[in-house]
Symmetry: C2
Subunit: 208 residues, 2 copies
C-alpha cells in the first residue's frame, strides 16, 4: 500500500520551487546543474531520479512559475479595467523584492542554440497563450458591449503584450515598481483612441 523502498529524503515540491527560482534568475542555459543541485539541496542522481533531465525539470519549473507567479487577467466589469489591472499587476509582479526581476517566461531563453530549440519553442508557446488570453478578454469586452464591434483585438493584444514583455526588460535594467506602474498608466493613456473609432488618421486598430 505505502510506497516501497527507501523514501525520498527531500520535498520534491520545495526542490522544484528552488530550481524555478534559479531558472528565473539565470535562464535555462545559464542555470548549471551544479547550481541547480546546490540550490535544491540534493545531488545530481536525486535530481535525475525525480525530474528525468534538465529540460523536463525546466518545463515543470515553468508550470510552477505560471501557477505561483504568473500574471493573469483578473475578473473585472469591463475590458478596460481588466487590462489596466493586468498591466499594473505586471508592474508589481516584475518588481517583487527578494524575487528575480521581470518575467521568467519572457527572459529565460531569448536566444536559441541548436540544442535548446525545444525550450525556446515551449516558452514561445506559453507567451502565445498569454497573448491569446488577453485577446480573449478583449473579445469578451466586445461581446459585453463595452468595446466597439469590429475592433482588431489581435492588434490590441499585440500592443499590450509588447508593453508587458518590455516591462520585463525594464525591470531587469533596474526600473523600479513606481517606474513600471507609471509605464502601465502611460500604456493606458491611448485606450479610448485605441478602442473607439476616433483614431489619429482613420481607425488604426479597426482593421489590419
Amino acid at each position: 500500500m505505502a510506497e516501497r523502498g527507501r523514501p525520498r529524503g527531500f520535498d520534491r515540491q520545495v526542490a522544484l520551487r528552488r530550481a524555478m527560482e534559479v531558472f528565473w534568475e539565470h535562464g535555462y542555459e545559464g542555470a548549471s546543474l551544479s547550481e541547480l543541485t546546490a540550490a535544491m539541496g540534493i545531488n545530481a542522481p536525486s535530481l535525475y531520479a525525480a525530474f528525468s533531465c534538465k529540460e523536463a525539470l525546466f518545463r515543470e519549473a515553468v508550470t510552477l512559475y505560471e501557477q505561483q507567479e504568473g500574471v493573469l487577467v483578473a475578473p473585472a466589469p469591463t475590458a478596460r479595467e481588466a487590462v489596466a489591472g493586468l498591466l499594473r499587476s505586471g508592474a508589481i509582479a516584475y518588481t517583487e523584492p527578494d524575487k528575480p526581476a521581470g518575467c521568467m517566461i519572457v527572459l529565460a531563453a531569448t536566444t536559441y542554440t541548436p540544442k535548446t530549440e525545444g525550450i525556446r519553442d515551449h516558452l514561445r508557446e506559453r507567451r502565445r497563450a498569454a497573448k491569446a488570453a488577453v485577446r480573449q478578454r478583449l473579445e469578451q469586452g466586445v461581446a459585453d458591449g463595452d468595446l466597439a464591434p469590429g475592433l482588431d483585438t489581435g492588434a490590441l493584444a499585440d500592443y499590450l503584450s509588447t508593453v508587458l514583455s518590455g516591462m520585463s526588460v525594464q525591470a531587469r535594467d533596474g526600473v523600479g515598481r513606481d517606474g513600471l506602474l507609471a509605464v502601465a498608466d502611460a500604456a493606458m493613456a491611448g485606450w479610448d483612441r485605441l478602442t473607439s473609432g476616433e483614431a489619429g488618421r482613420s481607425e488604426p486598430l479597426a482593421s489590419r
Copy 2:
C-alpha cells in the same frame, strides 16, 4: 612604412560583421567559438590574434551593431514626429528579412551567469544610453515649446523604451512588420494625453 610580417589573410571588418550576426541571433553565451570561427571563415588562433578574446569580440560586435543596425532618433521638427519615427523605424529594423529578428542589445544577454556579468552590464549600459537619447529628444521638445514644461521626460522615456524593448520580444515570437508597425501606432495613441496636462486622473507624467 607598410605592415611588417605576414599579412592577415582575412578582412577584419568582414569577419567582425559575421561574428556580429552570430551574436545577434544566438546571444553571447549561445554563440560558441566553433560557430564563430566557422562563420568568420578563420581558425581560433586568428580570431584571438585579431580580437583578443570572446568578450572583446562581442564588445566590438556591439559597437558595429550600433553603427550599422542601431535604431536612432532621427531629426524631426517636433518631438512627436521624432518619437513616432523612432517607434516605426524600430518596427522596421526588428523585422528585416534575412536578419535576426529583434534588437541585439536587448536580446543578446537577458540572463546573467557569474562569468558574464561584464557582458550584461555592458549591454545594460547601452540600453541606458539609448533611453537617455530618447529623453534628450523629449527635453529638446520641451525647450522648443512643442512639449509642455514640467513634463516628466524620464517617465515618458521609460514608457517608450518599454515599447521598443517589447517589440524585440514580439519580433522574436514571430510578429511581422505590419504587426509591429501597428504596435508602434498604438503606442502613439496616447501621446496627446501623455504630453499635455489633461490626463486621466490628474497629470500622470507631470511628476513621479
